[in-house]
């Protein structure tokens, strides 16, 4: 019969349409606005409405998600910031679009380089979010952020991130990437233990 294909197609779309109501009815209140609901809507079983209603609810961000990088500092006992970066420059060397600028500190007396950056800039209008800087950083000092709400009205005054804007505490790092943090922390502690052992000898 001519037109059977069209009718079959319309049947599928009708099914999709009806499913939205059936599914809303079956899942009730839990379907929207809850983590469980968002998880369901990103699972294999989802039928019916597929929308995640940002900003009221958000997709669950996987740990590996990368947006722009940030610098990690450890919080000392008195609240001082211990910047992990030693300004070794590997991130600046590996960056594909070359959007990282590092000015190494120098000891004012001897003129020798000090392992801390005096300045650290990232031009996020050039950054391609590739994550190579974080991947190759030997000190876990630069990490890819999860924060994507960065839209601004003026890029010229906002979009070159300096050291102050890039620095975030290690606790934030732990919060967004618990698994990576735990793994790296383990390695760091082992290293520290070895160092201490060597020092004792």
């Amino acid at each position: 019969m001519y037109g059977k294909g069209i009718l079959k197609g319309l049947g599928v779309t009708l099914k999709h349409f009806v499913e939205t109501y059936v599914d809303d009815f079956r899942r009730g209140r839990k379907r929207y606005g809850t983590r469980e609901g968002v998880e369901y809507r990103s699972s294999k079983d989802v039928s019916g409405l597929f929308t995640v209603q940002y900003p009221e609810e958000q997709l669950i961000i996987p740990e590996e998600f990368r947006f722009v990088p940030f610098l990690v500092y450890d919080e000392g006992e008195n609240g001082e910031r211990e910047i992990r970066c030693t300004s070794c420059g590997i991130c600046a060397k590996v960056c594909p679009p070359q959007c990282i600028w590092i000015h190494r500190s120098e000891d004012p007396k001897t003129g020798r380089p000090v392992p801390e950056p005096a300045e650290f800039y990232i031009d996020i209008d050039v950054c391609m979010n590739c994550g190579l800087c974080a991947e190759f950083c030997p000190f876990d000092a630069i990490i890819m952020d999860h924060d994507f709400e960065l839209a601004v009205y003026d890029r010229h005054s906002n979009n070159i991130y300096d050291k102050e804007k890039l620095l975030k505490p290690a606790s934030y790092y732990q919060k967004i990437r618990p698994r990576n943090y735990a793994a790296q922390e383990k390695i760091r502690q082992e290293k520290a233990a070895k160092k201490a052992a060597r020092a004792r000898k």
């Binding site: 294999k44 420059g89 060397k93 590996v94 594909p96 600028w101 300045e119 070159i160």
Partner: protein, 579 residues
Amino acid sequence: MTDTTLVAEHPLLERFPEGVTPDERKGYEGFIVAADRLVEFATALRDEFGYDYLSSVTGVDYLPDGKMEVVYHAYKSTGGGALVFKVQVPRENPVVPSLVSVYPGADFQEREAWDLLGIRFEGHPNLKRILMWEGFAGHPLRKDWKEAYFEEEKKPFGSRWPGGAVHRAEDENPFGKNVVYPPDFDPEKWTPVGDEALYAGLREFKKDDDLKTEQVVVNLGPQHPSTHGVFRMVVTLDGETVVRLEPVMGYLHRNHEKIGERNTYLMNIPFTDRLDYLSSMSNNWGYVQAVEKLLGDKIQVPERAEYLRVIMAEFTRIVNHIFAIGTLLNDLGAYFTPMLYALEERELILDIFEAVSGSRMMCNYFRFGGVARDLPPGVYEKMRDLVFERLPRKIDELDRYLTENEVVRARCEGVGVLTPEEAIAFSAAGPVLRASGVPYDVRRADPYGIYDRFEFDVAVRYHGDVYDRYLIRLDEIRQSIRILQQALDQLPEGDVIFGSPKYSMRVPAGEAYGRVEGPKGELGFYVVSDGSANPWRYHVRAPSFINLTALSRMCEGDKVADAIIILGSIDIVLGETDR
């Protein structure tokens, strides 16, 4: 790949005792052909030796030697390795005979080499610039040509570390923009080269026709809702029938190759993501494969990484084909519904990519000797859920509501036909080639990775029309699911990368051509190394670019509305077309 021991005794050398010599540079392969024997050589290659498929044509600027080299890669359409042949000409005024008469598929690629490297192809029917505009000063891929924001010959730049003083490149330029003009340029005395020349060639008047209708030249694009990006077709119409069609591209020419030659090898991986931005994993693979060939024995890919590569590449194929079907239906006028359904599945697969690689589209997941990281917990189960349950069900649904649809059939069947002979001659690749009845799939014809371990069929259809190009994508999704099911079942434990990854490495001098069966077709990367940390030449054989060579042939004689769906059925992505 050609067996190097065979080159010295290849029957081609017997056939051409003069003018053809083996390429004896270390790390290189194939033959060097004298420019005046090229056409004769290529004809013999095609007719006597069975190398009927010319895959890639590109130029290399050997500045220190004062030479310009044109590199050709030819294959047999029945499968097997490449036959590489080269022509060397002096750098000043390089002239090479055109091969368009032998292999029509060389058309756009020769134009590109003229545009970017300034190699003139004698006998080319339409040797105009293709990516840049007519009137642009210089040939940018020449090694001594420098752009406005030029900083240094090679990355990393010295200004970034240790004394990094932040600056924006535009602040250094007196114009405040990314521009550079010849020193004697005077805007007052200069007249722009407009599109008139382009239009003039397209109008032709029939003389012996009773009913005279005037032909109209219509521009479709570059801003057009169904050109899949910034692509432009200049169409000459007689009534509603397409008389001639000329594709105009370059509106997204982002200088991928020039930047790629400045990058280190590792830096290029995230850039390849942005070629065909719908299928970044396949792009990664093609490039990584080329560089791994150059590295040779120095690097071995662990088992688990091989499997992960196949899994990601096949997921990418599904994402791409499902999107291609969605946009094709969009072009047909089924405004957005099939697209919405297709995008749902795409989103679920992108969730997996995001969890594994960190980004939905720009995955940057492959590394030399493996992949960037292992699967995070929970992802394997998610992949199984999709592959064994949801995707087969949803593909069947897609099949059910579209394939039999009478409107789809009426619009697609018999439209934009490409015969198998034409498809091979035009160097069409991927679904376009296979829908024309040529069962050529790089995964089978020249297996790479571990594809020889899986059971799957090379999808093939025989009509060569838009409808078959739609069906073949459905078939390929099904085959991909089949491969995925096997790969997920067999996925071994172990390392995912060889050794500890380095951020900078030297690559032995030589050339390599890595090719994979991307979702759009054969995706090749031609890399020449001079032994340093940056490639000397980096060229992408882009399937969506070369598939367009056949576009005007497919559209001639069809209606203008069909031109849109024919373009949709080729499935181009402008990031790859223009690079």
